[in-house]
Assembly symmetry: C2
Homo-oligomer: 178 residues x 2
C-alpha cells in the first residue's frame, strides 16, 4: 500500500494513537487502513467413500493436487463459500455435513476452513482452475503431490477420523519455525 | 475505495476478465483490489465454572456485554489472536482448550471464531475497551444485554454444551432474511 484509497495521498506506516502496531495511515484524511488475514474456504467432497480431488491448473502449485477451496467472498457464509468453490473448481454439488478443519497460516495471513461435504450425485467436471478432478479412495490419495500444508492437514485428519470415528473439527497451524 | 493504493489513479468497479463478480480495478496499473471478510477471534474464558464477560467501553454496542474478542491481526494464528484479545480486553491469561464456535455474518462480512479457554488464574482487569469485567455463572449471564448475535450464539451453545457434555465446535450464521 502506497496511496490512500480514500483520498489518494501518500500513506505513512505508523502506530496510530491508542493502537500498538504499525498501520498504513493517511496523513491527509486520517483514514487508518487495517490489513487482516483472509479465509480460504473449501470442502472435502465425498461420494461412495471416495474423495474428490483436483489438480491445479493455476499457480501457485500448478499440477499439484488439492480439494476444492478458495478465498471467501464478501456477502457469503463460510458454508456458501465452500459450496461455491466446490461448484467452480470441480463442478460438483454438495451438502455441508459438518466443519472438518480450521488451520492458521500466520506466515501468509491465511486461515483455511474446510467442511466435510457429501456430494449430491457422482457428477463432477474440472473447472477453469483445475486440470482434472477425480474420485480417490483414502489409500489412493497422492500424498507426495499435495499442493498446500493446510490441505494435507485436512486430508490426514479426515483419513484419521475414518479410522477413529471422530466427528469434531480439527484445528491446527503452521508453526512459525517450521 | 476510490483510489488505487498502488498508483493513486481512480479505480473502477467492474468484473475483471475471467472473474464473475465486480471488483475495484485500477485502469492505470491494472491492479485488482479484492475485498474479503474479516475474522473476529475471541475466547470464552472460564474460571471455577464461571465465565468472564466484559462490558463494552466503545461503539458499537457501548455498555452491552460480550466475551473478549476482536479483529484477527496479520502474522498470528487464530489461537494467538484469541489469547491476545483476552489479555487486551480483560487482562486475563488463558490456555486454549478447544474450538467452540464458528459463526458467519455475511451482512457485515465477518466470521467469528470463538475458543473455550480456561483461565490460568482468577485474575482479570478491564482493558481500555472495557468498562468492567466480571465472572458470572451460566445462570447470571445478562441475556438481554449481550452486544452481538455471534456472542449470544457462542454463549447459548456453551451453556447447552455444559448440559449435554458435547465438545464439538458449533457452527452457525446469521440468516440474511432474519
Amino acid at each position: 500500500m502506497k496511496y490512500c484509497s480514500n483520498c489518494a495521498a501518500e500513506v505513512e506506516l505508523k502506530i496510530p494513537e491508542g493502537d500498538n502496531r504499525p498501520r498504513y495511515v493517511c496523513p491527509q484524511c486520517g483514514m487508518i487502513h487495517y490489513e487482516n488475514p483472509r479465509m480460504v474456504v473449501g470442502c472435502i467432497p465425498v461420494w461412495e467413500e471416495k474423495i474428490l480431488i483436483c489438480r491445479r491448473a493455476i499457480e501457485p502449485r500448478h499440477g499439484l493436487w488439492t480439494v476444492p477451496a478458495g478465498f471467501m467472498e464478501n456477502g457469503e457464509t463460510l458454508e456458501q463459500g465452500a459450496m461455491r468453490e466446490t461448484e467452480e473448481e470441480a463442478g460438483a454439488r454438495v451438502r455441508i455435513e459438518r466443519l472438518h478443519a480450521v488451520y492458521s497460516l500466520p506466515q501468509v495471513n491465511q486461515v483455511y476452513v474446510i467442511f466435510l461435504a457429501p456430494m449430491l450425485d457422482g457428477r463432477f467436471e474440472a473447472g477453469l482452475e483445475s486440470l482434472e478432478c477425480k474420485l480417490v479412495t483414502p489409500a489412493e490419495i497422492p500424498w507426495d503431490e499435495i499442493a498446500f500444508t493446510a490441505i494435507r492437514f485436512s486430508l490426514e485428519t479426515y483419513v484419521r477420523s475414518l479410522k477413529t470415528g471422530a466427528t469434531c473439527a480439527y484445528t491446527g497451524f503452521l508453526d512459525k519455525n517450521w
